[in-house]
């Protein structure tokens, strides 16, 4: 069934694996930035920890509970943003957000790398917030804002 093959696009092996065994999960020693992200739809909450040095994100970790999509997204994101500056992360998020809202486009593989596994999310409008939660929290943390961010 077409509907069910869509499910395979959403829950790709890589996504399931990161959801089950998230990388960079837990507190971060020497964190310089932190923000909470809240998805009011489901009540899920994650905390994003970052260590920034010389304008570059040296390390990122996250904590909290969430669905497979939000955990996998946070896990993959924490891997790809290390070594990047805040403007670079903003640009990457813009591309990622287009991927999860509008679907894959030519050049995504090169521009997004591992993040391309979330290409199936665009078929599931209610799950876009799950995929974006960690990004909102990270960008908020880098701005140094103390208030929790919401996906609303």
């Amino acid at each position: 069934m077409n509907q069910l093959s869509d499910l395979g696009e959403l829950y790709q092996e890589v996504v399931l694996d990161h959801g089950k065994r998230p990388r960079n999960f837990g507190p971060l020693d020497g964190e310089t930035h932190r923000a909470d992200g809240l998805n009011p739809l489901c009540g899920d909450r994650i905390t994003l920890h970052a260590r920034v040095d010389g304008g570059v994100v040296r390390d990122v970790r996250f904590e909290g509970s969430g669905c497979a999509i939000s955990r996998a997204s946070a896990s993959v994101m924490t891997g790809v943003v290390k070594g990047k500056t805040a403007p670079e992360i903003d640009a990457l998020f813009e591309r990622f957000h287009r991927l999860v809202t509008e679907g894959p486009r030519a050049g995504d593989e090169g521009a997004l790398g591992k993040l391309a596994v979330f290409g199936g999310v665009h078929d599931y409008p209610t799950r876009v917030k799950c995929a974006s939660l960690a990004w909102h929290a990270l960008r908020q943390a880098l701005k140094g804002g103390p208030a929790p961010v919401s996906t609303e």
């Binding site: 509907q3 069910l4 499910l7 829950y11 489901c42 509970s65 999509i69 209610t126 799950r127």
Partner: protein
């Protein structure tokens, strides 16, 4: 298929253990389903298994036709025009009020106020009755079972008045701890607001015992009937509560309409809430005098078509018979619980002594949203989330659950589709 509407004098419908009503026959269920146009439409290319009736029920053709007929034949504004259509619209609207009064066992239709729904009804009571009765240092008592709509209006009131919001606890099974509730009914308790049925767990609260304890201490009681009305109905006179709120859209009626019933002396004592047309007797720039009940609380042109639709929905419920609907839902819930027992990863959330309409559960460590997405692709509509009951979820140590909920049109195929879907969820997350 005519069954007598709810009997008087018993307060609430009997508990499952002593329920005498026969369930619906398969042919009756098939007839009922054929009255709901949406159930015949495929979803994602599959037959729809709609198990989200606690969020909102689907609507029978009788309701859709009544709304259409009203607009096509009678539409005008109420309580004003001297022309024929206004007379008819007024008659339709007031007949709907009588139907609500009859459904609730209210002696006087003027004790029934049409509002947008249970949420608006709770807000009205908090902002009028509550504002008059609650002062600094006083307490408002709710329970841990409540929907946000029976928490936040009281919280706003308490913040405004410097009062304290307290919550009667639930047991791990999801039942109210009645002894603890009794201890919380103190000398400063000004109102108790309690649900009839938990929307998240399906717990039926023992309202007669609760209300008796509150009344013994002179504490007025508001019952949130949003989830209870569609499964248990109410007989407000026998129940002994002071206010009863419910929403039309959860009992086969349209969205945007619901009702508050209140005891006449209390409603008389309460100040108006919103100002506008229809709620006044005379207006000058110096002084305004207010209309009598129930119009005092119905400012502006009301949702006339919504009220007509709600009246048609209550007629429809009376025709099928609420006890028969409830017995049918209990039978399906028993089937679902049996089926869930065969899935070892299933953990039921809430195993209350008495349950109505709802089963909440978790599947291993699969997040409810992931389960909900996969079920949706199999044509199964459930609710996945915190069910607007975050304090209850926190009390149970959870963020969310999967919730399947039932109505008159639910059938075995829905239960089977859910169980098949859950096996598919298990395969994805194996």
């Amino acid at each position: 298929m005519i069954r007598s509407p709810t009997a008087r004098g018993e307060g609430l419908r009997p508990s499952p253990s002593c329920a005498g009503a026969p369930s619906l026959l398969p042919s009756e269920i098939a007839n009922i389903r054929s009255e709901f146009p949406i159930l015949g439409r495929p979803v994602r290319g599959k037959p729809l298994a709609y198990l989200d009736s606690a969020a909102t029920t689907q609507k029978p053709r009788a309701v859709l036709d009544a709304i259409r007929r009203y607009y096509e034949e009678d539409n005008a504004n109420v309580h004003r025009g001297v022309h024929l259509l206004s007379e008819r619209a007024t008659r339709d609207y007031e007949e709907a009020r009588v139907k609500v009064a009859r459904f609730l066992g209210a002696a006087d239709p003027h004790e029934v106020i049409f509002l947008r729904g249970a949420t608006e009804a709770v807000n009205l009571v908090a902002q009028t009755f509550g504002r008059q009765r609650v002062g600094p240092g006083d307490e408002v008592l709710v329970t841990e079972l409540e929907h946000h709509s029976n928490i936040v209006p009281w919280q706003l009131l308490c913040r405004e008045k410097g009062a304290r919001l307290r919550a009667a606890p639930v047991t791990d099974a999801g039942d109210l701890d009645l002894d603890a509730l009794e201890r919380l009914l103190g000398p400063r308790t000004r109102i108790l607001a309690v649900t009839q049925v938990s929307n998240a767990l399906g717990t039926v609260t023992p309202l007669p015992e609760i209300i008796a304890r509150a009344r013994a201490r002179g504490v007025p009681v508001l019952v949130d009937g949003a989830q209870g009305a569609p499964h248990l109905g109410a007989d407000v006179r026998a129940l002994g509560a002071d206010f009863y709120a419910f929403s039309g859209h959860k009992i086969y009626g349209p969205t945007g309409i619901g009702a508050l019933w209140g005891r006449r002396p209390l409603l008389e004592e309460m100040p108006p809430w919103q100002g506008g047309g229809d709620m006044i007797a005379t207006v000058s720039f110096e002084e305004t005098t207010f209309n009598t009940l129930p119009y005092k609380f119905e400012a502006g042109t009301p949702d006339i078509a919504g009220a007509v639709g709600l009246g048609a929905a209550l007629d429809w419920v009376a025709r099928i018979g609420l006890p028969a609907i409830a017995a049918h839902e209990r039978a399906l819930i028993a089937e679902l619980l049996d089926g869930l027992r065969e899935l070892p990863e299933i953990r039921l959330v809430g195993t209350p002594r008495e349950r109505a309409g709802v089963v909440s559960f978790l599947l291993g460590d699969v997040h409810p949203h992931d389960a909900g997405t996969i079920l949706d692709r199999h044509g199964v509509a459930v609710r996945a989330g915190h069910h607007c009951a975050q304090p209850l979820m926190r009390r149970l140590g959870l963020a969310s659950t999967v919730r399947a909920s039932f109505a008159a049109y639910s059938n075995r195929a829905d239960v089977e589709a859910l169980l098949r879907g859950l096996r598919a969820v298990r395969e994805v997350f194996a």
